[in-house]
Symmetry: C2
Subunit: 299 residues, 2 copies
């Protein structure tokens, strides 16, 4: 096993807010970088810094030891890997593809098998930490797939993430991300309900939030999202429409694995409702306003 | 307004594990203490330290500026206050009763009104922090009721609690406690579901727990209860039967106030199920084993 270190050539495909920031950190770490994306506009700053633009994923992948990928959803990953000009056409046997997108775990296992037939290893590595984490190179990476490939890609992961955890076989990263999102949403629903109760009963809700934060009810959601709910600040942050997608994936994963899923099945429809009532582009904390409204409070 | 400071005479009624520890801390703080409880056996150590045993709550209350109360449930509080030999028979006008029990918020408002007719003020102050917090005098006290009485009782609260928060009118402390418990249970259900998913899919669940703790899914429950679930350690801690009682109160409070309550109504039946399946005396974290079993895993 050879660890793939800079200045090895790597590639990054999908240069949205997250992908572009990750690609920039790969260059800072000393990797030679080929890039490709649906829109070239976002690539300009990277090209100025020395990255090579390639018109297709296949071309970007052709000389790369590791190919990073970050696109919105399952069909986008499938197209980027197996569509015309996709990574599978260009990647060399022995290459490692790291998919940072948040997509279906079962589709991931299928994609991994199809790439394996060409001698290419797929790791799934959905992230948390958002745009700021991507810019700072401090993302949390939840990784599934072959452990040897994971070890080979250590320097690549180190360039983009701070907490990088190998969790198990192909799809394990996606399942951990689903677990992450379902915990956030269920906690947010509970905190929103608690705040609505406080408001309706005339409690000092900021005092309530502080008191609850001091004990066993403490959570990141209570320390952060609850402040947004109290302040009515729903500028994203993490958009509700993205969390709706993630909760659909979580419910699917819970079902696929035959898990008794009371919390995900409670929370997922609330995300549908939030998006359907106009909250798509707001921060997911707008769930707190939704539950207040459904409780007869003014937003 | 006169603040009630040591060596003023105070009383404590209900000397279970929590109440006895709180009474001991009142004596350490320098208060003169009258005590009463259903069973005298638990009072011996306090009597040895100088507390005066009284056969009824009425007698214990007779000379007390502040009367603390800590008993299991709503009917116990009603009996201690208004039953034969109850606090209401003995308490002087101007006295403050602090109820540390976790009971119904609506019953609390009723009790407060009935005491007010006798010139006695009731503060509700359910606590969190458990037996160790009671022993250490570091309880979190969630207080509802008259703000002036709350200020007068500052030294009493300081003797038993570390984080003491006045949240609003009578019942506000109970509602905050309900909020606390519903958040814990909903979070625990979500974390349990996440761990069951991880186990069924072959993930390294301890690595998963650590990865999740590093981001937005972090919570006290994930840092503590989840470790118990993974280790299969359900020695209490906080017994499931007590949490079942608290979740019944939470669901009632949510309903009484017309709050849309998806999280409490998801979690409360799980506590019923846990108790009904033999988990009453186990730590509430046994909910994690229940959800694993309901998912087809071995406990």
């Amino acid at each position: 096993m050879t660890r793939i270190e800079p200045p090895a050539r790597v590639a990054f495909i999908g240069l949205g807010i997250m992908g572009a920031a990750m690609a920039a950190n790969l260059m800072k770490a000393g990797f030679a970088l080929d890039i490709s994306s649906r829109s070239r506009g976002k690539a300009e700053a990277l090209e100025a810094a020395g990255a090579r633009w390639r018109d297709t994923g296949a071309e970007a992948a052709r000389e790369a030891a590791i190919i990073g990928l970050c696109v919105p959803d399952t069909p986008d990953v499938e197209a980027a890997l197996f569509g015309p000009g996709g990574v599978a056409e260009g990647a060399q046997p022995g290459a490692v593809v790291i998919d940072f997108s948040t997509i279906s775990a079962s589709a991931t296992r299928d994609f991994a098998q199809r790439l394996a037939e060409r001698g290419v290893t797929l790791l799934d590595s959905p992230v948390s930490g958002g745009p700021q984490g991507a810019i700072d190179g401090t993302l949390t990476c939840m990784v599934g797939g072959d452990a040897t490939a994971f070890a080979r890609a250590g320097a690549f992961f180190a360039a983009v993430g701070r907490t990088v955890t190998h969790l198990g076989p192909s799809g394990a990263g996606q399942l951990c991300k689903s677990a992450n999102q379902l915990i956030i949403c269920a906690t947010l629903a509970a905190v929103s309900e608690a705040l609505a109760l406080g408001r309706k009963a005339g409690l000092d809700v900021e005092a309530m939030r502080t008191a609850l934060s001091g004990g066993s009810a403490d959570s990141f959601v209570l320390r952060n999202h609850a402040k947004r709910v109290i302040a009515g600040n729903f500028t994203p942050g993490f958009r509700a429409e993205l969390m709706r997608k993630d909760m659909r994936l979580a419910v699917q994963a819970i079902r696929d694995h035959g898990v008794f899923g009371p919390a995900s099945n409670m929370a997922a429809p609330l995300l549908e409702l939030l998006v359907n009532r106009g909250g798509a582009k707001q921060d997911v904390a707008a769930l707190g306003r939704l539950i207040a409204e459904l409780s007869g409070l003014e937003g």
